[in-house]
C-alpha cells in the first residue's frame, strides 16, 4: 500500500456482541471524505431501513476526517453518525463534539471507530494505539460523566481522551449526549451507547497524522489562515471600537479589549487590544464568558478553553466558589447552548432570579448549577427545546394533565416560579433517571406530541420554534438571512447545526460589504438580504443554501469546525474583508497529497449531502420529501400582527416567511442539487451523476425513485 497522508487509513470496528474487533480500510470510503461522509456510507451499506436506533443492528460511528489531527486550525471536532432516536422515523443524523477525542483517535491510528451489536454487560472500550480491549464497566455504570472519565484515566493514564455517557445515556434517553473533555457534548446519540451497553470509549495515541506537502507549505497556509480568522463564529469586527478597527458591533463575539479580563486567572489576564495582526493575541479575542453570561461573569473567568488545534477559544472556564454550597465543584465550563439550554428551563418560570443569598451573582451561579447537572448526567437540550417545552407544558397545563397528581405535586414548581435554579437539580435528576412521567419530555418533541396528545397549537406556536413535524427546532433559520436559513433547516433530521451562512452574516460587517462578498461567491449580491429586510426568493439564495449545506457536510467530514469555517470573510481591511473560500481545498490538498480544487472538494461533499438525502428517503419509505419531510410548521409563514393588523411579509422589520415563496425556494434548492423538483427526492440520473449508482439501484428496487 502506498503511503497515506491525512487519513490514517484504518477504521476500527468493534463488534460488541461477540467482543471481536477488526480493521477496515478507510480508503475505500475516500469518495465520502471522512467523518460524517464515512458514517453515512456505513449506515447506507450496513444498517437496514426500519432499524430501531436502540436495536443492536444499528451502528454508531465516531468519525474524524483527514484534516483532523493535522494541526489545521479549528480541526478538533468529532462527528458521530447513527440513527436519531428523537426522529419520528428514526432518520439518520450526526452529532458533533469538539475537544480532543478525535485527534487522539487519529494519533492512535484510527480514522473512525464503528460500534456494532450490543455488549452482554456494561463495557468500556480501551484503545491504546493498535491495542483494543473491551473492559468491564459495571463498576462505573450509573456514575456521572466526570467521575467516569477520572476512573478510566486512572486505569489508562492521564493522557487518555474519553468519550462517555452519563445516566441519561445509560437509561436510553432519546435526548442524551456523548460527552468528551470538560464540556464538549454531542447531542442525540447518548442513548445508543447506552443501548449497546457502552459506557465510554477511551483512546490514547502515540502516532501521528502524516502530511504530504513540504512543511513550508502547510506552515504558510497556517500563517495565512491565522491572518484571516475572526473570533468565534468568524465574527471579524470587535464588540467595542478599537484603534485598529474600522467597524464594530456590540453583538460581536470578538469581545477582547483593553480593560476586559480573565478575572479569576492568577494574576488576572487582560484580553487587550487583540489586533488581528498580532498572532499571539488570537486566543484572547473571544472572551466568551461575558458574551454568554453577562458582564458579571468576567471576575469568575479563569481562562478560555476549547478544542485541539483551534486558536479561537470559545468555551468559558469559570471558578464559581458558590457552587460548592450545592455540593458541586467550583470549576465549571461551557459555551453557547451548554449554558443556555439549562438556563432555558428556568426561563419557563421567568428566568433565574436572585436566590439563596447569591445576590447579583445569582445568574452566574445558576448557570453553573444547570450546566454541571446536564454535563454530569449527560442530558441533551435539543438546542434549547427542553426549556421551551417546559414553558409550554407548564403554562398550558399539559404537565397537570399528563403527570399523575402525586408526581405533579412532588415537583418543586415554586422554585421554578421563584427563579431559583435549584429547581434544575431536581428536574434533571428526574429526567436523567427516568423518574415518573416527567422524563418523557426528553423523548423529543415528535414523540412527546404523540404521547401527551399535543396538537397543532404546539407545533404552530411561534415561540416553540419547532421547524418541522420532525420534532427539531430552529438553529439559525429564517432569522439568519431569511429564506437561506429557513431552507437550510429543512434538509436535516435534527436542528440544522449549520453555521456556514451564520458565520457569513454573523461577521457583523456592514451589509454593503457582505453583499459584495455574497455577489462574488453566489453570482449576485441579491443572494443576501439586509437583516430583517427580506426580499423574495431568488436563484442566488438557492445557491447560497446549497453552498451552506455542502460546506456543512464538508466540514463535518474533514473534520473542521463549522462554527468557524468557512473563511468567507476576514478582519483585514487590506483584503477588503475578504477571506478565502478555497482554503479547505488548499489544506486538504496539502495535507493529503490528493490535489483537489475548491469545486472538486465541494462535489465530494455534495455526494455526502445527497447520500444523506437518500438515507432519509429510505428511512421514511417515501419520495415525497417536499410533503412529508421538508414541510415547515405554519408559524414560519404566518404573518406577525401588530395592533391587530397583519405585518405583510417582505416589509422591513418582519422575518416571517411566505408559504408560496418557501415552496418555490424548496424547488429551487432541489434543482441546485439535481433532485426532482416536485418531490425533492434524488433522481436516478442525479444519483448516478454524483457517483451513487448503488444507491440509485437500491432506491429503485424499493420504488423510492421519483417518477
Amino acid at each position: 500500500m502506498s503511503q497515506i497522508f491525512g487519513w490514517t487509513g484504518k477504521i476500527l470496528r468493534v463488534d460488541l456482541s461477540t467482543g471481536k474487533t477488526s480493521i477496515d480500510d478507510t480508503m475505500k470510503y475516500k469518495d465520502f471524505i471522512g467523518g460524517e461522509g464515512i458514517g453515512y456510507k456505513i449506515l447506507w451499506d450496513e444498517v437496514p431501513a426500519g432499524t430501531h436506533p436502540y436495536d443492536p443492528a444499528n451502528k454508531l460511528i465516531l468519525g474524524a476526517g483527514p484534516l483532523c489531527g493535522s494541526g489545521v486550525p479549528c480541526s478538533g471536532r468529532t462527528t458521530i453518525v447513527s440513527l436519531l432516536p428523537t426522529s419520528p422515523f428514526h432518520g439518520p443524523g450526526s452529532s458533533h463534539m469538539g475537544g480532543y477525542f478525535s485527534v487522539e483517535m487519529k494519533y492512535a491510528g484510527w480514522d473512525a471507530i464503528v460500534l456494532e451489536g450490543k455488549a452482554p454487560k456494561p463495557v468500556w472500550i480501551r484503545i491504546e494505539d493498535n491495542k483494543v480491549k473491551i473492559e468491564d464497566a459495571r463498576w462505573m455504570w450509573g456514575k456521572g460523566i466526570f467521575d467516569t472519565m477520572a476512573m478510566i484515566s486512572s486505569q489508562m493514564g492521564k493522557e487518555a481522551q474519553v468519550a462517555a455517557i452519563g445516566p441519561a445515556g445509560e437509561n436510553q434517553l432519546n435526548m442524551a449526549v456523548i460527552r468528551t473533555g470538560t464540556s464538549h457534548s454531542a447531542g442525540g446519540h447518548g442513548g445508543i451507547l447506552g443501548a449497546k451497553n457502552v459506557k465510554a470509549v477511551a483512546v490514547k495515541g502515540t502516532g501521528s497524522v502524516k502530511i504530504a506537502a513540504e512543511k513550508a507549505k502547510v506552515q504558510e497556509l497556517d500563517k495565512f489562515m491565522m491572518s484571516i480568522i475572526g473570533a468565534n463564529n468568524q465574527m471579524v469586527v470587535p464588540s467595542h471600537p478599537q484603534p485598529w478597527a474600522e467597524f464594530n458591533s456590540p453583538g460581536s463575539r470578538w469581545t477582547g479589549r483593553p480593560g476586559l479580563f480573565w478575572g479569576a486567572a492568577n494574576p488576572p489576564v487582560e484580553t487587550g487590544v487583540c489586533d488581528p495582526k498580532d498572532m499571539q493575541s488570537v486566543g484572547f479575542r473571544t472572551q466568551k464568558a461575558v458574551f454568554d453570561l453577562g458582564a458579571g461573569a468576567e471576575k469568575y473567568t479563569v481562562r478560555m478553553g476549547g478544542c485541539a488545534h483551534c486558536p479561537i477559544r470559545c468555551h468559558s472556564q469559570l471558578k464559581v466558589p458558590q457552587l460548592e454550597k450545592y455540593g458541586m465543584d467550583p470549576y465549571v465550563s461551557n459555551t453557547c447552548v451548554g449554558w443556555s439550554g439549562p438556563r432555558g428551563v428556568m426561563a419557563a418560570g421567568g428566568g433565574i432570579k436572585e436566590f439563596d443569598g447569591n445576590g447579583a451573582d445569582s445568574s452566574v451561579v445558576g448557570n453553573g448549577i444547570g450546566t454541571t447537572m446536564v454535563d454530569d448526567l449527560g442530558v441533551w437540550c435539543n438546542y434549547g427545546q427542553i426549556g421551551r417545552d417546559v414553558k409550554w407544558f407548564h403554562e398550558k397545563g399539559v404537565f397537570k394533565r399528563v403527570l399523575p397528581a402525586e408526581e405533579y405535586a412532588s415537583i418543586p414548581w415554586d422554585l421554578l416560579l421563584k427563579g431559583d435554579p435549584r429547581f434544575l437539580i431536581d428536574f434533571y435528576d428526574r429526567v436523567a433517571h427516568k423518574k415518573g412521567e416527567l422524563w418523557h419530555i426528553a423523548d423529543g418533541s415528535a414523540w412527546i406530541a404523540q404521547r401527551w396528545g399535543l396538537g397543532d397549537d404546539y407545533w404552530d406556536h411561534k415561540d416553540n420554534k419547532l421547524w418541522t413535524r420532525g420534532g427539531y427546532p430552529v438553529h439559525h433559520s429564517n432569522e439568519s438571512a431569511g429564506q437561506v436559513g429557513a431552507l437550510i433547516s429543512c434538509f436535516t433530521n435534527r436542528d440544522a447545526q449549520n453555521h456556514t451562512h451564520q458565520n457569513f452574516i454573523g461577521s457583523q460587517l456592514p451589509i454593503a460589504i457582505q453583499k459584495e462578498i455574497a455577489g462574488e461567491i453566489f453570482g449576485s449580491p441579491d443572494a443576501l438580504d439586509p437583516p430583517q429586510n427580506y426580499t423574495r426568493m431568488n436563484e442566488f439564495k438557492a445557491r447560497f443554501v446549497k453552498w451552506a449545506l455542502v460546506r456543512g457536510r464538508l466540514h463535518d467530514s474533514l473534520t473542521l469546525c463549522n462554527w468557524m469555517w468557512p473563511m468567507a470573510v476576514s478582519p483585514l481591511k487590506e483584503r477588503k474583508y475578504r477571506g478565502d473560500t478555497s482554503l479547505e481545498a488548499q489544506f486538504f490538498s496539502a495535507v493529503t497529497g490528493v490535489t483537489k480544487t475548491e469545486a472538486e472538494l465541494d462535489k465530494d461533499a455534495e455526494r455526502v449531502v445527497t447520500l444523506f438525502r437518500a438515507l432519509t428517503v429510505r428511512a421514511m419509505g417515501t419520495v415525497d420529501m417536499r410533503g412529508k419531510h421538508d414541510a415547515m410548521n405554519k408559524w414560519i409563514y404566518t404573518p406577525d400582527k401588530k395592533d391587530g393588523k397583519e405585518i405583510p411579509q417582505f416589509t422591513k422589520g418582519t422575518i416571517q416567511m411566505e408559504k408560496d415563496d418557501l415552496d418555490k425556494g424548496l424547488g429551487m434548492v432541489y434543482k441546485q442539487f439535481g433532485w426532482d423538483e416536485k418531490t425533492g427526492a434524488p433522481t436516478k440520473a442525479g444519483l448516478e451523476a454524483i457517483g451513487l449508482k448503488d444507491v440509485a439501484d437500491e432506491l429503485g428496487s424499493k420504488g423510492l425513485l421519483p417518477a
Partner: protein
C-alpha cells in the same frame, strides 16, 4: 505590531510621536507636539557633547513644518475649535480617530448623533445606549441623559429616535436610514433574540 517601534523610532520626532500615540490608541495634540519641541530646543546636552556652545534660547522647529515636510502620508490632521489633532492611519482607523476627536472636542451630542446615523446607515443597526458607556467613550448615565435631552431639543437631530427592547434596553436609531418598524425589530433581535439563538 513588532514593526511599529522600528518605524516610529526611525521617523523624525513629531511624526514618530504621532505614530506612537496612534499605536497606543491616542490622538496627538499639536499643542503637545509644540511643547515637546520647545522642551527639546532648550535642552543643552546634545550641543555640549559636540563641543559647540548651546544657544541659551533656541527657536524650536514648528512640528507642523516637520510633519508637512516629512512626506508621511499616513499622518492625518483634524482641526478642532481650538486644537489641532493628528493620527497615523497606519495605527488608527479614521473611524476610531473620529470617535476620539469628538470626545476631545467635548462634542458629545455630535458623537452620539453621528455614531447613531452611521450605524443605522452602514450595518444597518440601531445603537444601544450602553455602547457609549463602554470604552472608548465611558460616558456616565447622567451624561447620556443630558445628551439625549439636548438631542431632543435640536432641530437638526429630529431623525434620532429612541426605542426599547422587551428587556428594557434602550437603543437609538436614525429615521434617515431605518424605518420605525425595522428599527424596533432589529432592536429586539439584537438585544433579546440573538441571545436566545446562539
Amino acid at each position: 505590531m513588532e514593526t511599529s517601534d522600528v518605524t516610529a523610532s526611525d521617523a523624525p520626532s513629531a511624526v514618530g510621536t504621532v505614530r506612537r500615540d496612534s499605536a497606543a490608541g491616542r490622538l496627538t495634540l499639536l499643542s503637545a507636539l509644540r511643547a515637546d519641541a520647545a522642551r527639546n530646543a532648550s535642552l543643552p546636552p546634545a550641543a555640549a557633547e559636540i563641543g559647540q556652545d548651546a544657544p541659551s534660547s533656541a527657536v524650536p522647529a514648528d512640528p507642523l513644518d516637520e510633519i508637512g515636510g516629512s512626506g508621511a502620508e499616513d499622518l492625518k490632521r483634524m482641526d478642532g475649535r481650538a486644537e489641532t489633532y493628528f493620527f497615523s492611519d497606519l495605527y488608527m482607523t479614521r473611524a476610531y480617530a473620529s470617535y476620539l476627536y469628538r470626545l476631545a472636542e467635548k462634542d458629545l451630542v455630535g458623537l452620539v448623533v453621528e455614531t447613531v446615523r452611521e450605524d443605522s446607515r452602514l450595518y444597518p443597526r440601531p445603537t444601544p445606549l450602553d455602547f457609549f458607556r463602554g470604552p472608548p467613550f465611558t460616558l456616565a448615565q447622567d451624561q447620556l441623559d443630558d445628551i439625549l435631552t439636548r438631542i431632543r431639543e435640536r432641530e437638526d437631530c429630529r431623525d434620532i429616535r429612541e426605542c426599547r427592547a422587551s428587556n428594557g434596553a434602550r437603543y437609538l436609531y436614525s429615521t434617515l436610514h431605518l424605518t420605525v418598524a425595522h428599527a424596533e425589530a432589529l432592536t429586539e433581535w439584537n438585544e433579546v433574540g440573538q441571545a436566545e439563538n446562539p
